[in-house]
């Protein structure tokens, strides 16, 4: 370990620190200047779905109930066109040991750290994932450090993250609480270097393989009760792991025709690294502040190659407003008796609108819930919002302005989804790919094929867009 703990010095050692802390040599998967063998990265990890299931069974992870939201379906049908309004189901992931699907994501990672003899695990996360890693580490007898972005320069903690601090400490983890800024990654590298712990990254193949059981289970559960696969699965989308893992699980179950819909809370206008904006987001995850950058360039994570590559799997990408998610959260509690969320209910809010596009005999699955409690609750978020000078009102959710006013719908008919133009997302991805090219490097055939797979398009689409970018000087 080097003595120089300065920002530049630590960042210069990042490749080596990451390699040692995850024990995977990502270089061996490179097949071009940008391309890498994505499927081999998973295959080499050496766990099939059954093996993942066995690991998760030992800690009570997964096998969560699938609940039909009959009252919400009925409510949606009151505003849908005649004959429209799919049956809505929810996968009650809050029933996992630490209260969210993140237990699936942490399980294999912690298991692998234990198997390989690491003394502990560390994770950079302000969300449910921290509690999940801490919970899994407790059971495995490993030490655990969670690094959070937790408070602003006035010392005001985001209440949802404060709850996660408490949960992680309850599981016996050391919690490093940091103020706002991307230097969290720098401090996380220092922790990894200091401890030699396993990097229980959100974005390793272990994390994504752990989520595949979610998609697989829900496909089987729907098949068992309706003798068919779901028509659509709506997934709350942030860093891309939820979409990627769930979609891969659905495909492994044979649900190849199920529409994969990613849904994020629209936080446009707020800067994710801004100290001023930090406590004005009212959401700590499931929002566009993560989903836009990660969908258009996944390799901005704490591992060299991100195993969460959502653009490969999504059929559709929609956004909903903050007020719509709070409304859906309230309805879920009062009509279905499920007090959950709030961030995980992003996909539920989207499902209110999406179900209306399908016939009544169709099935739409909202693929997660998360636990709720002090701080991690619409009341805590809206009280903080009011304290920060944000106006909270009933009205048309189209008038919701992130960081300025939160508009809770007056009627269920007002809930709509906004489409994110996937062609724009794909072009944006390709622009980022070109920007990531090393100086003077040229794309080979493998790279073009890789970019086609990444954007779920064809090599001719990729070539056409790249030509256009060159011609227009981008």
């Amino acid at each position: 370990m080097s003595d120089d703990q300065g920002y530049q010095a630590v960042m210069a050692r990042r490749a080596e620190i990451m390699r040692r802390s995850i024990g995977l040599d990502y270089d061996q998967y490179s097949t071009g200047v940008l391309a890498f063998d994505y499927e081999r990265l998973f295959a080499d990890v050496g766990y099939d779905l059954k093996a993942v299931r066995a690991v998760q069974d030992r800690t009570g992870v997964g096998n969560t109930p699938l609940v039909e939201l009959e009252n919400i379906t009925a409510l949606v049908r009151t505003v849908a066109q005649p004959g429209k309004g799919a049956r809505i189901f929810v996968k009650d992931e809050a029933k996992n040991p630490s209260g969210s699907f993140k237990d699936r994501r942490a399980s294999l990672s912690v298991h692998e750290a234990k198997k390989r003899g690491y003394a502990g695990v560390a994770a950079a996360t302000s969300g449910n994932y921290g509690a999940a890693v801490a919970s899994q580490a407790a059971k495995a007898g490993l030490r655990c450090i969670i690094v959070q972005e937790a408070f602003d320069s006035r010392g005001v903690a985001q209440p949802e993250i404060a709850e996660k601090t408490r949960a992680c400490e309850a599981y016996g983890a050391e919690v490093i609480r940091l103020s706002v800024g991307p230097e969290l990654f720098y401090y996380f590298l220092r922790v990894l270097e200091d401890t030699g712990y396993f990097n229980s990254s959100l974005y390793s193949p272990y994390s994504i393989l752990g989520i595949e059981t979610l998609g697989f289970e829900l496909a089987q559960q729907i098949e068992e009760l309706a003798e068919r696969f779901p028509d659509a699965v709506v997934t709350t989308h942030a860093g891309g792991g939820n979409v990627t893992g769930t979609a891969r699980g659905l495909l492994k179950a044979g649900a190849t025709d199920t529409e994969m819909i990613a849904a994020s809370v629209d936080l446009s206008g707020l800067h994710m690294a801004s100290d001023h904006d930090f406590n004005r987001k009212s959401f700590t995850t499931g929002h566009t502040g993560f989903s836009m950058p990660f969908t258009t360039w996944p390799d901005r994570a704490d591992v060299p190659r991100n195993a969460a590559r959502a653009l490969r799997y999504m059929d559709r990408f929609v956004t909903v407003t903050q007020g719509e998610v709070f409304y859906a959260t309230q309805v879920l509690a009062e009509l279905e008796g499920l007090e959950r969320g709030p961030a995980g209910n992003t996909s539920l809010a989207a499902a209110f609108a999406i179900a209306q596009e399908f016939d009544e005999d169709c099935i739409v699955v909202v693929q997660e819930t998360e636990y709720t409690g002090a701080g991690k609750h619409p009341l805590a978020q809206l009280n903080l919002a009011k304290q920060m000078g944000i106006k909270v009102m009933r009205g048309d959710p189209r008038e919701n302005i992130p960081g300025r006013q939160i508009v809770v719908p007056e009627h269920v008919a007002q809930i709509r989804v906004s489409e994110v133009d996937l062609d724009w997302v794909r072009r944006s991805y390709l622009g980022n790919a070109i920007a990531a090219l090393p100086e003077g490097a040229r794309l080979g055939a493998f790279d073009v094929e890789f970019l086609a797979a990444e954007t779920r398009t064809t090599t001719s689409y990729v070539e056409e867009v790249l030509d256009e970018m060159c011609r227009t000087g981008r």
């Binding site: 009925a74 320069s153 050391e174 490093i176 609480r177 800024g181 230097e183 509690a333 009341l379 809770v408």
Partner: protein
């Protein structure tokens, strides 16, 4: 008299990781203008006084140094008062379903 906190007390320390002039180049202006700070909890390794340098042993067994900030710090996050903008929603949606015979 200055109160000394006993060795072994559960506390929180605070430290500046990067002062405002040394933030990462990509951070926005408002963030650049403030320090990058850390807070972490652990057990005091030796008796110490609030506001002064102290060493803690964390739950992961690490030794970390910083300014002693709080003794047995409380978890203060809560729900707060009910939000009027949410309070009426349940009644509204139940009324919509009452007409369909689903709710009483």
């Amino acid at each position: 008299m200055v109160r000394r906190e006993k060795k072994g007390t559960w506390v929180e320390i605070h430290s500046i990781i990067l002062p405002s002039g040394e933030r990462a180049p990509q951070v926005p202006e408002d963030t650049r203008g403030v320090a990058f700070e850390m807070r972490v909890k652990g057990f005091l390794v030796e008796a110490a006084t609030v506001g002064e340098e102290a060493e803690i042993a964390t739950s992961a067994g690490r030794r970390l140094r910083g300014v002693l900030d709080a003794v047995n710090p409380a978890y203060t996050h809560s729900f707060g008062p009910p939000i009027p903008e949410l309070s009426a929603i349940g009644g509204e949606v139940r009324a919509m379903l009452r007409d369909r015979g689903r709710f009483r």
